[in-house]
Amino acid sequence: MNWLYGISITCFAASYLVAFCLELTRVFFRAPLRKYLINGVILAGFFAHTTYLVLQTQMQLAGTGLFMGSWSGWCFGAAWLLIVAYLWIRYRQPQTLSGLFVLPMVICLIGAGTWLGPELSFPSARARTVWNAVHGLSLLVGTATVILGFVFGTMYLLQSSRLKKKRPPSRLVRYPSLEWLQETSEMLLLVSTVLLGVGLLSGILVNVINQKIGRGVLPWNDPVIISSAILFVWLLISLLFNLVYRPARQGRKVAYLVLTSFLFLVVEFAIVLYAGHATREPELQGRGVTEAPAALCASQLPACREAG
């Protein structure tokens, strides 16, 4: 089984890229065997991706005790969740061209993860707590949900526009129905709000606990906390608006809500990275800032960083 350690980011990234190219050809011509080819390539990529994450986790747990202990791993984890969603969509709606929308997001996340690199890792002593794990995981899944919502919201707007303009339907591919896209977007809005809410609250709890045990805490006016709170409040307002005001559930309004949520998320992520959230030790009350820990896994993992 040593060959499994040879699985690198390229393995699954290339698979997803090939799958995307094959999905693109669906727009231009029919090919009876293409469906099986796409399934094969995606499953191969998914296997490689899963194996990579599992081995990374095993090695990290053996060393630092962290599960996906860097922003890089976090991006790969989010990409993995999107692939799981994509496989489910292919099963439920095999005729639709969802791959053209989901796979680019997956590839972008893998690209971001590769670019960020494992150096931006989370300090192990601080990160290896239950509430930090809850904080990280809920934000990870919540992020993937927001991204999916963005994908479906975009598809809704495109399909709605096509139908309004009475464009002839393609014979080769089709969108999911507006009703399906709307209901799925609504569900994703609810799930992402709950998860990001849990993420925010658990983060606050972590800060409170750290304050009590005399560890460094984030000041309550930290940009990350403020932007996270704004994102959560926005999602909560969107959700309540959607639940209470019936016209909000219809048509393009849901799509606009999830699209805006995605934009908020992107801004939030930029602030998080800029502020070095989770990768720097926060200030102790009245003391100086501690140095960021060295990269945790670069030298330990054989396929940690892509060459070139």
Binding site: P168, P169, E179
Partner: protein
Amino acid sequence: MILKIIGCSHHQSSVEVRERLAFNPQQTFRFLRKFYDAYPQSEVVLLSTCNRTELYAAGQSHDLMPSTEEMELFLADSCGVQHSEINDFLFEHANEQAVRHLFAVAASLDSMVIGEAQILSQVKQAYRQAADLNQPMPLTHHVFQAAIRVAKRVASETEIHVNRVSIPSIAVGVFARQIFERLDNKQILVIGAGKMADETLKYIQGEGGRDFVVVNRTREAAVRLAEKFNGRVADWDALSDQVQNADLIVSTTGASQPVVSLQMYQQIERGRLQRPLFVLDLAMPRDFEPSIGECLNVYLYTIDDLQQECDRNRNARVGEWPKAQKILDQETERFMRELSLRSKGPTIQRLKQQAQQIKDIELDRLMKRLGEVNPQQQKEIEASFHRIINKLLHPPLESLKDEAETGTTGLLDALKKLFQLGD
């Protein structure tokens, strides 16, 4: 083996003529029974649809089956019409042409709407009805099974069946499906109660639609349509309320002015809470003012919008025609080759039997003349006689097989005469 077809279809005759020659299942059964009584050594299948009535007859030879004229007279008599009234509208085919025609019909290449899939089940049904009479029908069995195979091959190897070509089926199966995931929980409003409404409702029902409300100026017509589809009737005066509640509207009135104006729609728009509304305005002139299509979450499609899609799909199907035709040609040729080979079977069998008989007689005479012969010698003599027969028959049998590839029967006829094998 002979195969003949006579009949009429939408190519040669109007619907009035075809109506007079149409058979329902009970009438078909009686017809087939009567045909077998009159021509017991023939095989027969009757195909009757809204666009064609075709009588297929088969037999081992011309003597054992009716002539084309007799078939026409029989058909006319069974329908209670004079032969002279329908003579000009009937076509006839025999042998290879008949086979090709049947293959084209089963593969929906001869249909009014090329590629419509219903015809194959009708062909199967016609064959089954004939088979239920338990009469021997080896040739018709062979040719109808081949026709079904050809139809399946055309369906799988071409795209001639892909994409819908009728306006109601496109409206519901293509456009409604792009908006709604399911129709069983949608309220469907039908404005007008004519033929187009009826046809469209069939498709909606086929796609799962259940909750129908029919509105028509004439209440009786609305009631008839609603009863047919287990729907409800609403008064014409309640039209705006019904538009407010509907998810899908099919409008097919014969009104000369729009029955739903922009002003009316704007009054009820707020009450709709921006739910998506799919309007199929199949009327001419239009029932909905076009500006309603600009309203939020309203998808308004007219007959022109759907007709464009119809034409596009029809052209796409026609584009598949050469591929389908090639399959038809290949399968017809293959069938005729097989038929030719099968037809030579009895003659070859008789030739071999004749040769075997001669061999047995001469072998017996020789053994009696020779008297005491040890078993080994007897065996050698029998083997020699056997080899002689085989070597003599091999060249003519191979020539017959080669002739079967060409579909001709010259050698077969010569063989029958030379060896006095009979028919």
